[in-house]
Amino acid sequence: MLRQFSISFAMALTLGSQPIWAQETTDVDPHAGHGSSATPMDGMKHKSMSDGDMSMDGMDMKGERGHHTDVHGDETMDKQMDGMGSMSEQGALGAPRVQGGKPPLDARDPHAYSGGYDFRPTPRLRLGDEHSLGALWVDRFEMVRSSNNTSAAYDLQGWYGRNYDRVVIKAEGDYDNGKLESSDTELLWSHAVSGYWDAQLGARYDSGDGPNRGWLAVGMQGLAPYWFELDITAYVGDSGRTAVGLEAVYELLFTQKLIFQPRLEAMAYGKSDDARGLGSGLSDLALGLRLRYEIRREFAPYVGVEWAGTFGGTADNVRNEGQDTSEARAVAGVRFWF
């Protein structure tokens, strides 16, 4: 079981009192009755609608849910109009959601027009939606230069499957002096649960310095409003070990090919693992800024800087080894995919 801090940590990472994917897809009070048939004057719809599209403002974590909704409840139509200069009230009142949500009771049955007919048994047409596809993304393949050392790192993700269910492999690791410093590799089943979010379930294997560790993994990966790519996973291992990891990426287009990418990665553990030098609580955090040039979409060299720090018991362990608990690094590498 996750300890309390892990849970709250996960909450913090998920931008509010509700995980963001839940806001998008399920956080609907069935009694609110806000369907597409909502009447325009039903002011009560405002709240349920607000839940649908939480902004990143929610990161501040303050306040109760209701407060949160009132302050940050910038559901789409409302804000859209606000953004257009000013807003008359009627747009916000009772407008049904435009993304996510649950179908109203009177939603159409998409098979209602079939009249009982089905495809003929003869070889029927099969289109791309019934064909599997694979991809491999090597997001980071880089040399890492700190003040007194040069190492190498990789970070890749591969998938195979159709549109909504895929096998996913994630692998990340560091090499130092030709030796694998640390690596974690995950094998997951990924299932689309909403427009922009996939739920993932599988296993993770850590190796490198210290004993190897196996974990069960459950997480969410997707795209949050304002184009933040998020990957949040909780882990449960042997001996009551728990952990939670976060990766957040944003991309800013300077030009169509020159792309600036801030990236945050963090890892926290439920209890210390001295054999691996890990303390409980927030353990590692890295903030990187990379600038890549897409020679082709599939191939982009980059340079960047990264700040990486250790915290809590992990930092103590690092300190005891006579090393710095944080460092700034220069990185250079290539992103490629196919």
Binding site: P96, A107, P110, Y196, Y226
Partner: protein, 598 residues
């Protein structure tokens, strides 16, 4: 007219011996065309790799046709590629039929994979419709399939493969059906102008790229530089406001076309813009241009600077003439226009793609060797709130938006204003399958006006055709009102690159049943940010206004973002039919239904 059409061919071969690097292959191509008619030998294909005839489609007339599908080599970009062609040419031969006659078309497949030909817009028995897996089993390698049907209509149509991505790799051609009665559109010259898009890439690879990175081909995405400029123009608040909704919803305001000139070369009659397809006229003549939109993923905005175009026929059906400067058409649609150039000069036929990444181009000239100025590509225009939200955005922005969003403001015709005030409020019923991962947005207050030419064409200073301008001569085929309504939503998830009806891709769908003989109203409601050319096989789509007034008889109707349109169908064609978005990559992603008329 037939003679004039043939003149076009003669003109090309005799008056324009052309020095372009692609032209030289045509000598060889003529030979390969003959080869194409002979039984194909694999060794010939492997060693000689026959060249594709491009730029002039041979005209085949009569009632008996032999068509041969094979791989032939082509070079549109400087790199040799294999195309799939019909009788060795791109476009495929123009088929000239006569209304009332029965045509027999033997199609032999020399490919290593199954093929098919679909006669787009032709009313015929479903077994002849040519959709593998629905109308028939397809034409296996080495086999000959014989299509035979009575031609009961006249006008401009086209045909193409309905198998895989063969349409992208060269399998499309024009059909001209002469009316049984004397043609009432009288002209001095008559040209087919078939527009298409070509990629050197394997279309399967293109599709895979879109599924891995849907913005792969979009090189007009909002950048930091755009933002800075907007801050300068409209202040920080305005610049942020312009982006807020797009960014919140994770949608891209410049995603108009999915695929761009990054990979596409746009062709006019199988000819690149550089090679400049050319047609002749004499000043004072009436010239009919039969524009056929055969791009697989491209909408074209067509104009001829300094010439008015009078649209006389749409989708093969004569309409009350309407004179315009420009029209947009999507894959599948055909527009016949009359031009009357008076001056002894050249004119440019200019067809820029909707995403403003490239263009197809040709020349209409009074004398050989002349060219006219080629207009610059216009700047891409961001989709507006109205394109995304329908009328809700219009209501909200009525006062404030006008200053910032010219296009949204400009498009308000009377009908739009009526919508804005809620007079035409519609009751939208989304399918329950539109609330899951297959759908990235829903439109709750669609726009129903048809007097909007669409994004990029609003208020451009030119008279642009809209669907509200189209009136089929003679009214609807069936005077009955609708006995039943079917509401279908056009859906998708751009980020995942999934496309569907009602949130269900074809593989998860069930057929749609039309009761034989019924008169049916079909409502198409676009819950996406893209324009979808919707093509119902086998039966006419008789488009109407939001108020139920008949407009035009169509085989392909483009539905704009956040738009809701309706048409009436008489379900008089027994059998199984395809119904799909004619953007090939949307179709293949699953934006496709089978219709059962029984």
């Amino acid at each position: 007219m037939k003679h004039k059409a043939l003149n076009q061919t003669q003109y090309h071969s005799s008056l324009l011996p052309d020095t372009g690097r692609r032209r030289f292959v045509q000598g060889m191509a003529a030979g390969s065309l003959l080869l194409g008619l002979a039984p194909w030998s694999k060794s010939a294909l492997a060693t000689a790799s026959a060249q594709t005839l491009t730029g002039l489609a041979p005209v085949l007339a009569g009632t008996e046709f032999d068509l041969s599908v094979a791989e032939t080599a082509v070079n549109f970009t400087g790199r040799a590629r294999m195309a799939t062609t019909i009788n060795g040419s791109i476009p495929a031969p123009t088929l000239r039929w006569r209304e009332g006659e029965t045509v027999t078309i033997r199609v032999t497949n020399h490919l290593k994979v199954s093929t098919s030909l679909h006669w787009h817009g032709i009313i015929l028995p479903y077994q002849m419709d040519g959709v593998p897996g629905i109308s028939f089993t397809g034409i296996a390698p080495g086999e000959t399939f014989t299509y035979r049907f009575k031609v009961g209509q006249s006008g401009t149509y086209w045909y193409h493969s309905h198998s895989g991505f063969q349409e992208q790799t060269g399998m499309y051609g024009a059909i001209i059906i002469d009316p049984a009665l004397p043609e009432n559109v009288r002209v001095d010259r008559d040209y087919v102008v078939q527009l298409s898009d070509w990629t050197d890439e394997d279309p399967m690879v293109v599709f895979a790229k879109l599924r891995k990175m849907s913005a792969y081909y979009n090189f007009k995405q909002p950048t930091v530089a755009d933002f800075s400029r907007d801050v300068g123009d409209m202040g920080m608040k305005g610049a942020l406001g312009k982006r807020r909704m797009w960014n919140r919803m994770r949608m891209n305001p410049t995603d108009l076309a999915d695929i761009s000139a990054y990979t596409y070369t746009y062709l006019m009659n199988g000819t690149t813009p550089d090679d400049n397809w050319t047609a002749m006229f004499k000043p004072g003549e009436r010239v009919r241009l039969r524009f056929i939109s055969s791009g697989t993923q491209s909408f074209f905005d067509v104009r001829i600077p300094d010439l008015k175009m009078t649209v006389v026929q749409v989708d093969g059906v004569n309409v009350e003439p309407v004179t315009v400067d420009e029209f947009r058409f999507g894959p599948g649609e055909t527009y016949d226009v009359i031009v009357e150039p008076k001056d002894d000069r050249a004119y440019t036929l200019f067809a820029q793609d909707m995403g403003r990444s490239g263009f197809a181009r040709g020349t209409l000239t009074a004398r050989p060797g002349l060219e006219a100025e080629v207009p610059a590509l216009e700047k891409i225009e961001w989709l507006t709130m109205r394109d995304m939200m329908g009328n809700m955005a219009g209501m909200a922005g009525m006062n404030e938006m006008a200053g910032m969003d010219h296009s949204a403001h400009a498009m308000t015709g009377d009908a739009a204003m009526a919508d804005m005030t809620g007079a035409n409020a519609v009751h939208v019923r989304h399918a329950r399958t539109e609330y899951g991962p297959s759908v990235d947005m829903r439109v709750n207050s669609p726009r129903t006006n048809l007097d909007d030419p669409g994004i990029g064409l609003r208020n451009n200073g030119r008279r642009v055709l809209t669907y509200a301008d189209l009136h089929t001569i003679g009214g609807p085929l069936d005077s009955r009102g609708a006995e039943r309504e079917i509401e279908l939503h056009l859906t998708g998830n751009m980020e995942r690159y999934t496309w569907s009806f009602d949130g269900l891709e074809f593989g998860k769908s069930t057929p749609i049943h039309f009761r034989h003989g019924e008169r049916l109203r079909v409502i198409l409601h676009n819950d996406t940010m893209m324009t979808h050319p919707m093509h119902l096989h086998g039966m006419w789509s008789e488009q109407e206004t939001a108020d139920g007034e008949f407009l035009a008889r169509r085989h392909t109707i483009s539905v704009q973002p956040a738009q809701r349109i309706s048409f009436l169908v008489t379900a008089d064609a027994l059998g199984r039919w395809a119904w799909h978005c004619h953007l090939l990559y949307h179709m293949d992603a699953g934006m496709f239904r089978e219709v059962v008329v029984a």
